[in-house]
Chain length 396, copies 2
């Protein structure tokens, strides 16, 4: 019998509690033993709930109960969640979490603590929600060299960008609609400014390199300045504007960044629409593998969280599988990477070609003008002396 | 030090041998110990090869060498490959294989033998080549209930269908081109008649249910009767004709079948083009997760094969993770499943609607006529007394 303590009773916590109680047969079959939800840590009790007998308001009860093997953290943030995860690991309990901020900021400390204490800390749902991504990256690519991971890792911004492209909605209207549907928070800053995707990208970078990608050091741009005419221009070029988090391993360092890209129609990322997440893994000599699926939502996140619980219960003696040191990952400035660019500009085609070389002009029916350039760095593009209204790296 | 014996030196064998020798540092890091290619079983020696010192022509040498921990089978078929896999497992050696025929036909026997002998038999590359699919299905979906897997599992037929759709090529011309490019065998029967995809679908079904899906009992149709006008009609309906292998778990049984489908444009499977493979997993309450990537090719297959080697070396004491019994999986006749249909027919729209109810007529610029029906079984469609030139279930 494996006793589980759940921390938090928000969207993810409730879904996890429901799944733990309703799918207990399936979980027991997968774990090879009964999996029991023993405690739910809440700030206040919910008297009418079917889970009422499991509610506790003090983490001490969980920490002291040696029968609790796995703590599932669904509080979020780096306050209580950090404290409880530290204490759980120190007490010799495995921890699973969906908390990207916690792992992005304290993953180096917590994974090292897990290894030291002979327990495991897994965090599959912290990146790309319900899509199995971290697990396959860790377990299935060992024979190859992963050169790049590029992902649509934030469903809120992808929903907004999809609305802008497919309905010509303004940013404000699309955001309001996302809020109405519950896809965006009332304070959407962490999503729309790229921080949420950036944290997830840092987790990917840290996992892949074994060194800490610090969210504070990583270039993150959001989508707040994307306009409907940008979406239209990209569509006219056969592309979609998408907020990509990228980890690119190159000579001399790793580029880790989040910014809107013009994703070419030939890429499977171009067609990841709405709140769906997607990630493309480029590995040598394997080639490109693409994953997509539900990036958020209580049930999908809870599935990934409990999948981590099952992984631990099936291999309880395994040493912590992902550890990265606190040493800073040497970061490559993304502006030094050669890429093609989709630019929006009113400069005449002749002047563009004179400055940038051969390019493909783009002009929407509404008269929005731009071009797709050849391969050059952002620095070279900026140094060409052109008046650009916007420029997005082309992802292909 | 983990000694590996490779059986076979064809496309996959050569790639695996190259990867084992050239990526030895990476493999050692991933395995936690050096991984050494000790033997390559060949029918005749290749004197000039860099691997010459490793060639053996007699399996006995491998079987008797107790230092060989993992046997990687890359012979194919069910002759020598079956014999050597049996002997390797019986001798207490782990086995990895890319051989879908072997696993589809003898997986029940070989997985049971592995479990009995306390070793592991892994076969990730046998389905969807280089895409991590079997591993995530096994390890990452335990908290949910997998209701369906639908996949484009054969690159040859997908290349042919893509050529027909995108260039209007005839089946014969597209096949000839595939042969020219090395994507199709000189005798393409196993690919184009659906047997290859069928074997892979049987492996998925057996893994998911724990019961044997016998390739001989499973309905497999290929693409030999698809015509360019079919591809055009599907395109006009916003769909693509794709050969799908499907495992659908329903009340009363499991439908396991391979046949051409009209894949709706909203499905990520619609845009899996050329030799790429793709698979969609539907799980409750998780939702839909999609995987795509290289389904064949020496290097991609070798990566997946060696990824299985690494998985074994990291968890050598783990019991065989996928076992299915020899008992036959109760199969549901796919013709009893309610689906929408894309039909090609010259029947007038009025007569179609009178017989089938509301439908969406489709007519290409070249005058190819058809319709997308409402939801009904194949039996109901066939029983409507209409002259249909072709009918494909709609996958959406």
């Amino acid at each position: 019998m494996a006793n589980i303590a759940l921390l938090g009773y928000g969207t993810v916590g409730r879904s996890a509690a429901d799944l733990l109680t309703r799918a207990s047969d399936r979980l027991a079959a997968a774990a090879g033993e009964p999996v029991t939800l023993q405690y739910i840590l809440v700030r206040r009790a919910y008297p009418g709930s079917e889970h009422a007998p499991r509610f506790v308001t003090d983490f001490d009860a969980i920490e002291r109960d040696s029968s609790v093997r796995v703590v599932a953290e669904a509080i979020g943030g780096t306050g209580a969640a950090l404290e409880y995860c530290r204490r759980a690991l120190a007490a010799g309990k495995h921890v699973v979490t969906a908390n990207k901020q916690l792992i992005a900021e304290y993953g180096h400390e917590l994974t090292a603590l897990a290894r030291e204490r002979g327990v495991q800390l897994l965090f599959e749902p912290s990146v790309a929600g319900g899509i199995p991504l971290l697990h396959p990256l860790r377990e299935c690519f060992g024979a190859c060299s992963v050169r790049e991971v590029a992902g649509i890792l934030n469903g809120t911004t992808n929903y907004i960008l999809t609305e802008m492209r497919e309905r010509g909605a303004s940013y404000d209207a699309a955001l309001a609609r996302a809020q109405e549907l519950g896809y965006a928070e009332q304070d959407p800053a962490a999503d729309v400014e790229g921080l949420d995707a950036g944290r997830k990208t840092c987790i990917l970078a840290s996992m892949l390199t074994g060194l800490r990608a610090d969210p504070a050091a990583v270039c993150m741009r959001g989508i707040t300045d994307i306009r409907p005419e940008d979406a239209a221009l990209a569509a006219c070029a056969g592309m979609s504007i998408r907020l990509l988090g990228r980890v690119i391993r190159a000579e001399g360092g790793t580029a880790v960044f989040v910014r809107p890209h013009a994703v070419a129609g030939s890429s499977p990322l171009c067609r990841v629409s709405g709140v769906t997440n997607g990630a493309l893994v480029r590995a040598e000599p394997l080639g490109e593998v693409f994953f997509s699926g539900p990036g958020a939502g209580g049930e999908a996140t809870a599935c990934a969280l409990l999948s981590d619980v099952l992984e631990i219960l099936r291999a309880p003696g395994r040493p912590q599988p992902s550890v990265w040191s606190g040493e800073a990952l040497p970061l490559l400035d993304p502006d030094t990477l050669p890429m093609r660019w989709l630019i929006r500009t009113d400069e005449p085609a002749g002047r563009l070609e004179a400055a940038l070389g051969a390019l493909r002009p783009v002009r929407t029916q509404e008269g929005v003008c731009g071009a797709v350039t050849g391969t050059m760095t952002r620095r070279a593009l900026d140094g060409a002396g052109l008046r650009l209204k916007a420029a997005w790296p082309v992802f292909e």
